[in-house]
Structure formats: structure tokens, C-alpha cells
């Protein structure tokens, strides 16, 4: 831990311009989601030493390997799960790109305006709050889809598994982390696009604090 006075000195030299650059960078990092997956679910089992995996992009789901989705669907038919949705099957895959694109553009403009002194650092925080709310809504929606996907099963399923208490077993993958499901180990974690988005949002938070500090010192 450096002593506080030193940190204060450093901050004193940082201007609103620098905070604005951070804001711009943070907003631009969101665009990584157009290239890299937001989330990833891996399914490993004794018969799958090379696990099956799916990458969740903002505009659709793709297999880690070419035939992973086909093979996941093939396995899921035993337990009566629906097939993995195609982009046209879910409104989310057309709406998410618009939301992310818009937020990145708005963040970029706010940063630009901040750079030229047209808006204050409060806008940075405002953007972050909106983004956080959208993120939470997105996660909620994602979780709701997985719950439906893992529990709304075909009544004619080949294998109807039950929990010890007699309730039907859910095959909902975990929102985050690891879960054992029958012979499968499911792992659910953010992927590069998701990490870039997180880093971007963190940068805008820093931008807010930096902006705030520069204001105070002025």
C-alpha cells in the first residue's frame, strides 16, 4: 500500500480529459461482445474427455467445436430438453446487439463530450448505472431461459429422472460456476467478451472517480 499522500499527488495531476479517455475506452470495450462470446457453458462427462461446449454470443449460440450443438441436442433428447435455440428462435439475439451497440455509442459520446468539457463526470456514473441495470436484466433473462430450458421438459422424454424427494430433476445449468448433472459436469463462466464488458464497466467507474477527484482538486 502506497501512502495516501502519494496517491493524492498522482490524482492531482489527472484531469477531466484523462477521465473522459477512460470513459471512451470503457464504452468501446463493450464492442468486444460483437466478436467474442459473452458467456460459456462446458459439459464434460466420462464419455466426453473432450467436453462439449457452447459459446453464448449476444447474437446467438455457437458450439465450441463444429458439431457440439448437434451433439448436445442429441444427448438432451434423452431427457426431453428442447433443442438449443437458433438466433431466430429468441428475441434476445436480435435485441441484445442493438442494446450493446447503443450503450457503446452513448458511452463513447458521453466520453467525447466530457473530453471537451460539455458534460460532467456525473454522466459517467449515470451511464454505468443504466448499463448495470441492463446487465442485471440480461442476467435475469438468461437465467429465466435456462430455467425454462432445464425444467420445461417433454412429457414423453425417454429418461424421466427424479430428485430423491420425487420432484422432477432439473437440468438447468448453473448461472455461474459448476454443477453436477447426472453423468455431466456443467461449468458456466463468462468468456472473453463478458470479461471485456466487465473491464469496460470498471473503467467507466474509474473514470467517474477520476473525474470526481479532478473536479475536487480544481
Amino acid at each position: 500500500m502506497k501512502n495516501n499522500s502519494e496517491i493524492t499527488i498522482i490524482f492531482n495531476f489527472i484531469t477531466m480529459k484523462k477521465a473522459s479517455i477512460l470513459m471512451i475506452l470503457g464504452a468501446l470495450l463493450l464492442t468486444g461482445l460483437f466478436v467474442f462470446p459473452l458467456w460459456n457453458i462446458m459439459l464434460g462427462a466420462p464419455q466426453y474427455p473432450e467436453p462439449l461446449g457452447m459459446n453464448i454470443y449476444i447474437d446467438g449460440i455457437k458450439g465450441m467445436n463444429e458439431f457440439d450443438i448437434k451433439n448436445i441436442d442429441g444427448l438432451n433428447h434423452y431427457i426431453g430438453m428442447k433443442t438449443i435455440p437458433k438466433p431466430e428462435d429468441m428475441w434476445e439475439f436480435s435485441v441484445f446487439p442493438v442494446v450493446i451497440g447503443t450503450m457503446a455509442a452513448v458511452g463513447f459520446i458521453i466520453g467525447l463530450l466530457g473530453f471537451f468539457g460539455k458534460v460532467s463526470y456525473h454522466w459517467f456514473l449515470g451511464w454505468l448505472i443504466v448499463m448495470t441495470i441492463l446487465g442485471i436484466l440480461g442476467m435475469y433473462d438468461f437465467n429465466a431461459w435456462m430455467t425454462d430450458y432445464g425444467t420445461n421438459l417433454d412429457p414423453h422424454a425417454i429418461m424421466k429422472m427424479a430428485n430423491p424427494d420425487g420432484t422432477p430433476m432439473s437440468y438447468k445449468p448453473p448461472l455461474l460456476g459448476h454443477q453436477k448433472m447426472l453423468n455431466f459436469d456443467a461449468y458456466s463462466y463468462p468468456r472473453l467478451g463478458g470479461y471485456l464488458m466487465g473491464a469496460g464497466m470498471f473503467l467507466t467507474l474509474i473514470a467517474y472517480f477520476v473525474g470526481k477527484r479532478s473536479k475536487k482538486n480544481n
Binding site: 473432450e50 463444429e66 458439431f67 448437434k70 451433439n71 442429441g74 434423452y78 425417454i158 429418461m159
Partner: protein, 654 residues
């Protein structure tokens, strides 16, 4: 007198067996610590992979087996020249053409000498070639699918034994005849063999892109037996060497009559010179009839083309193309060291090895120092081409491999041992017994400019007491020696399938990453494939019923078929819709007079069934594909020939 000598040899051989036995028993008891060290050397822990792929010929199985080294575990038997009911090879409509020949459908053969394709004299791992000895054929096996991709018949040949060795850029795969025969074949007295029978040495070109083979020319040689061969490499690239025996040209009781000459020949063939001659319009086109069978990985189907002509070359018409190098006592293997300078003749009835020098051979040719000629082919003087002799102290040398560190390893059949000696000094460095009577030996890449001199595998002809007895018939035995040190060390012993006459091995990392996992369904060009389940259907064409069927875990589409009649010929064209690694499905139909099928993901195969009595007859998946494997089944209703029931088919009553 001669007979007496042979008997003496076999007595000597027996004496060596007895000695070997004694050594072995001694070993077993005395060296526990050593053995545990050796155990570590061959132990490939569960889930770990071997260091090398070894491809062993199957001999009379007609196939090629794939092993791991050092573990000695067998991974696969690749069907090549023989029908293979395990997968339906040679039984399915798609693969039957692979076994077509000018003699008709030949369902078996005797596979001998595999050789892996090379670039610049080093293994490149694209294909492996192997010869069918009995009905002369050469096969090319694809090393991405590990399946036979092509078989070409060799006309004018009989006992295709001095095969299938490849030149150092895989320009040619070479196939020489063991038996000389009348060329062209005709009805004539066997007693007129001498001077009338001929030996054909075939140079089969290999397309550098797709590997497709074509006979470029056949060299029509005197009527000797051409036993084994090897390409020159590096400095001797452009030459090919063949051992001969029976230069006596006898035709009966060869074991005696072909063992009379003190020296037979190694034929040195300058194939570049003949290639040039042929490219300039030389040679004689001769009527012939031979099959060329090509398997297309995209249609999953083989086709046969009958070729009607072959280009022959009379060696006396191409000056400087062929010379004979006198070599003692019916040489078996002829092996060329990695530098290309030493040509080793393994005189199988001799105690010594004869090593010729390529440089000296060129000098002798240059100086025209000939010792007469045979059928117009100049014979070089033994002393002029001799580089040295290895006084091995063993008996019955057959074959020599190289470790790339200046050492050679020769197998001795009669004295049942492998002898390590030094190239250049001809000094014997080490010897170890084999169990028993080794034929060929193999070092990974030992047949190339760049051997991987870590292991030596001896492929033995006699097994006796090596493993638990299994009645009179035993698998052959192989031994693995660690040759990384000064002395060879016997570290493992494992049974091999059929009779491996030779083997070729390659580092695993050169093949494993490109080994195919599935066939792509979207690349399936089989005319009878159903690539989506909704295209499944049943069609009648006269008394043929074609069932276009899809299979995926864990059902057939369709699964119930009605409207088939007694006297119909029913074709099941089945496409495996899986696109997952290692999920084949099988198919068998009750009472079918042929093999079942094993169908890989994305592949289509066809099986024929001729129902003989009315009834409802089940078929099922024979590969335990999934937890619902036992449910993977269907029925065919067979009605009397006079019935007018229309064809219908269902899946789940739909």
C-alpha cells in the same frame, strides 16, 4: 552331400534354440531389479499415449494391424486384401470392388511389407503401402482415415514379394515378382522354365497430390526369383536394389536345386535412367488385364477399372540401367543404410553379411570391370563392389535395419538372434536372442534417411512357450528391444496378429493430430445417402427394394417396413447421422447371407438381404451405441411373392 549340409544347418539351428532357451530361463530368475526397470520403459499409464504407431503386416490375414510402441497394444486391424466381417469391408456393396482382380473377386491374400510414404527420404505420414503377395496387388492406405484407399493389381507377376518399397520422394512404389512365370502367361511345359520364364519388376508411380497409383513400367528381367528390394537413398537415390535367388533357374525342389550357386545376385536398377527412356517413348506396350480399385472417401464407394495395357521394358535395351552384384548364398533382404552408400545383402544360407559399396559400384561401372553377363546384363566383380563383410557368428541373416547412429541391426533366423554391428568397421557390437526365429526386424523410420533409433522390434516366426498356450495354433511373437544404449536390452514381448513379415513405425505426433474423427455428413456424396431423416424412403424397382435409411442414437428411420416379398432383393442403404467422435452404429439382419455393417458417423454403407420366407423379420444395431442401444431395432414384413401389399414404412407410427 548338399542335403547333408542342409541337415547340419538345421541341427545347428536347433542347438541355438536350446541355448537360447537356457539363457531365457536364467534371465527370468536372476534379474528382478532389471525387470522392474524395463517395466517402466514399456509402461504406458492408463489414459496415456504411446510414443510410436507401428504398422505390422498381417501375412495370411491379408491385413495390416496398428500397434502402439512401446506398449505393444493393438489399436486396429485395417482390412486391406481380405474380407473383414467386423466392418463389412469386402461384403458391403461399396467395398466389394476393392477386392476385384483379373481373376475375379479375390477375398483374401498374404500381406507382407508395409512402407510409409516419404519426402526427401524422411517419413511424411501421408500413406502407407503394402503388398498382397499371393494375387499380386499393391494397396495404399490413407493415414488420416486408417482405411484402404486404393488397390492396384500387378500383371505379369506372381508372388509379389520384393514389394512394396517406396523411393525417397514416394515417386514410385516398387513391386517385384518372387516367382518367375511365362510372360505373357501361356500353356507351356514347366520343364522349359530356364530361359523362358521371366521376372517382372514393376515401378508404380504415386501421384504426389492424391497418392493415386499407376504402373509406369515393368522391367522384364531374367527368370530368377526376386526376393526383396530396397530403394537407394540420398546419394544412391535413383537406384533400386533387388535380391535374387534361384539364379540356377531350377523349377523343382528349389530348397536344394536353388541353393547350388555359391553366389546369387543383387540386381541394381537405375530407375531414373529407365524413367527417362520411357518418357522418351521407350518400352513396349503389351496387352494386359489388371484391376485398379479406388475408394472415394466422399462417396464412401470403391470403383474398379480394368486396365488393358502395360508398358514393358527390356533391360538390355537400356544400356547402363541394370547391373548384377554377386552376393553369397541366396540373399533374402537387401537393405540400404541411411547414407545410401552401403547395400547390405543378407545371405540367408550364410553366416556372413555381404556389404556392397555404392561408390565402388559406380567406379566399377565407370571402369567397365565386368565379370561376364547374364542374359545380356553385366555382372560386376564381387571384389570390386565389396565394402566389407560382417563376420557375425550368427546363422541365417534375413534383414537389416539402421538406427541413424552408424549402427546396423541384423536378424538371424536360424540362430534366432539380433546382431548389432557397426557400419564401416563391420565390427559386431552386441547380440541378443529372439524368441524364436526372427524374420524381419523394425526400427521406427529404419527404412528412411532419418531413423528414430530408440526401439527395435523383432517379428518372430515361432512362438512355442512364450505365452499361455492356445491349442496348436498360436499368434506370432514380437519382442521389443531398447536400443538407446550401447547394448540392446530386451524390454517387452507381445503377440501379433496373423504373421507380420515386416512393419513400419512412425512417431505418434506425426499422425495422431490429423487422424480423422468423423466423416462430414454435409460432405457425403454417396448417391444413396439420406442426409436428413425426412429423405428416408423405400423404393421398389422390379424385384429390388431399396431402403434409404438413416440411423442416429437410438433409432433407425424408417424402422418398420412392409410390402417386401419373398424373392425380392432388399438393399439397405444406411447413413449414420451422428457427427460425434466414436459413435458408430452397426447393422445386422436376421438370416442375411453376408456380413453385417459397421457404419462410421457421416458414412453410408449398403447391405443386401434376400428374404426367403414370409414372416416379420427383425434387424438391429450391433454396436452398443448408447443407453438405448437395445431399443435400436426394426422389422421388415415379408409377404408371399404373390401378395399385393404395397410398400409402406414408418417411424413411431407416423
Amino acid at each position: 552331400m548338399k542335403k547333408y549340409k542342409i541337415q547340419l544347418l538345421s541341427l545347428l539351428g536347433m542347438a541355438m534354440f536350446l541355448t537360447s532357451c537356457g539363457d531365457n530361463n536364467g534371465n527370468k530368475k536372476s534379474s528382478g531389479a532389471l525387470n522392474s526397470n524395463n517395466a517402466e520403459k514399456v509402461y504406458v499409464a492408463p489414459g496415456e499415449h504411446d510414443e510410436f504407431y507401428a504398422f505390422m503386416s498381417g501375412g495370411y490375414s491379408g491385413n495390416l494391424t496398428v500397434y502402439g510402441l512401446p506398449s505393444g497394444r493393438m489399436f486396429k486391424e485395417i482390412p486391406v486384401f481380405s474380407q473383414f466381417p467386423t466392418t463389412g469391408y469386402g461384403y458391403s456393396e461399396e467395398t466389394k470392388p476393392m477386392l476385384n482382380t483379373s481373376y475375379g473377386f479375390v477375398p483374401a491374400d498374404d500381406s507382407h511389407h508395409p512402407d510409409i510414404s516419404q519426402t526427401n527420404g524422411e517419413l511424411d505420414g501421408r500413406w502407407i503401402f503394402i503388398n498382397g503377395n499371393n494375387t499380386p496387388r499393391i494397396a495404399r492406405i490413407d493415414l488420416q482415415t486408417f482405411e484402404t484407399a486404393e488397390i492396384i493389381e500387378v500383371p505379369n507377376s506372381a508372388g509379389n514379394h520384393s514389394s512394396s518399397y517406396i523411393t525417397e520422394n514416394t515417386e514410385y512404389v516398387v513391386a517385384g515378382t518372387r516367382f518367375s512365370v511365362p510372360i505373357p502367361q501361356r500353356d507351356m511345359p514347366i520343364a522349359d522354365y530356364k530361359g523362358n520364364f521371366k521376372g517382372a519388376l514393376s515401378f508404380i508411380s504415386v501421384d504426389p497430390e492424391d497418392g493415386e497409383m499407376a504402373i509406369k513400367f515393368q522391367l522384364i528381367m531374367p527368370g530368377f526369383n526376386y526376393d526383396l528390394s530396397h530403394p537407394g537413398r540420398d546419394k544412391s537415390h535413383g537406384w533400386f536394389f533387388f535380391t535374387t535367388y534361384n539364379t540356377e533357374e531350377s523349377n523343382s525342389l528349389l530348397e536344394v536345386n536353388a541353393s547350388q550357386n555359391d553366389k546369387d545376385f543383387i540386381a541394381a536398377v537405375n530407375w531414373k535412367k529407365i524413367e527417362e527412356y520411357v518418357n522418351n517413348g521407350g518400352g513396349t506396350k503389351m496387352p494386359a488385364n489388371y484391376a485398379h480399385n479406388v475408394y472415394d472417401e466422399h462417396t464412401h464407394t470403391a470403383t474398379t477399372t480394368m486396365n488393358k495395357e502395360v508398358l514393358t521394358v527390356d533391360p538390355t535395351k537400356v544400356p547402363g540401367a541394370v547391373y548384377f552384384l554377386p552376393t553369397p548364398k541366396s540373399p533374402h533382404g537387401v537393405d540400404v543404410d541411411p547414407t545410401g552408400n552401403y547395400i547390405i545383402g543378407n545371405g540367408k544360407l550364410s553366416a556372413d553379411l555381404t556389404v556392397h559399396s555404392f561408390d565402388k559400384m559406380l567406379a566399377a561401372i565407370e571402369g567397365k570391370k565386368f565379370d561376364g553377363e547374364a542374359y545380356g546384363i553385366p555382372i560386376l566383380k564381387f571384389e570390386d563392389v565389396l565394402a566389407g563383410q560382417v563376420k557375425s557368428g550368427g546363422l541365417g541373416p534375413l534383414h537389416t535395419e539402421f538406427d541413424g547412429k552408424g549402427n546396423a541391426y541384423t536378424t538371424f533366423f536360424i540362430s534366432s538372434e539380433v546382431v548389432k554391428w557397426k557400419l564401416g568397421t563391420w565390427e559386431v557390437l552386441d547380440r541378443k536372442p529372439t524368441f524364436y526365429s526372427v524374420g524381419h526386424g523394425m526400427i521406427p523410420g529404419g527404412n528412411s534417411r532419418k531413423p528414430f533409433g530408440k526401439y527395435f522390434v523383432s517379428m518372430n516366426k515361432i512362438t512355442k512357450d512364450r505365452y499361455l498356450p492356445t491349442g496348436p495354433e498360436l499368434e506370432h511373437s514380437a519382442q521389443l528391444y531398447d536400443i538407446s544404449g550401447d547394448k540392446m536390452e530386451l524390454i517387452y514381448d507381445f503377440p501379433t496378429h496373423g504373421e507380420p513379415h515386416y512393419a513400419a513405425a512412425i512417431p505418434a505426433e506425426m499422425l495422431a493430430p490429423k487422424s480423422k474423427k468423423i466423416y462430414r455428413l454435409d460432405d457425403n456424396k454417396h448417391p444413396d445417402a439420406v442426409t436428413t431423416p425426412d429423405k428416408a424412403r423405400v423404393v421398389r424397382k422390379g424385384n429390388e427394394v431399396h431402403i434409404y435409411m438413416a440411423m442416429i442414437r437410438s433409432h433407425f428411420t424408417p424402422d418398420n417396413i412392409e410390402g417386401v416379398k419373398v424373392g425380392d432383393k432388399v438393399y439397405f442403404h444406411i447413413t449414420n447421422h451422428e457427427q460425434d467422435f466414436d459413435v458408430p452404429h452397426g447393422f445386422m439382419m436376421i438370416g442375411q447371407n453376408t456380413s453385417g455393417l459397421l457404419i462410421m458417423p457421416g458414412q453410408t454403407k449398403t447391405s443386401v438381404w434376400e428374404p426367403k420366407q414370409p414372416g416379420v423379420w427383425p434387424f438391429y444395431c450391433t454396436d452398443f451405441c448408447s443407453a438405448l442401444h437395445q431399443e435400436m431395432q426394426g422389422y421388415v414384413r415379408v409377404s408371399p411373392a404373390s401378395s399385393d401389399i404395397e410398400l409402406s414404412w414408418t417411424l413411431d407410427g407416423e
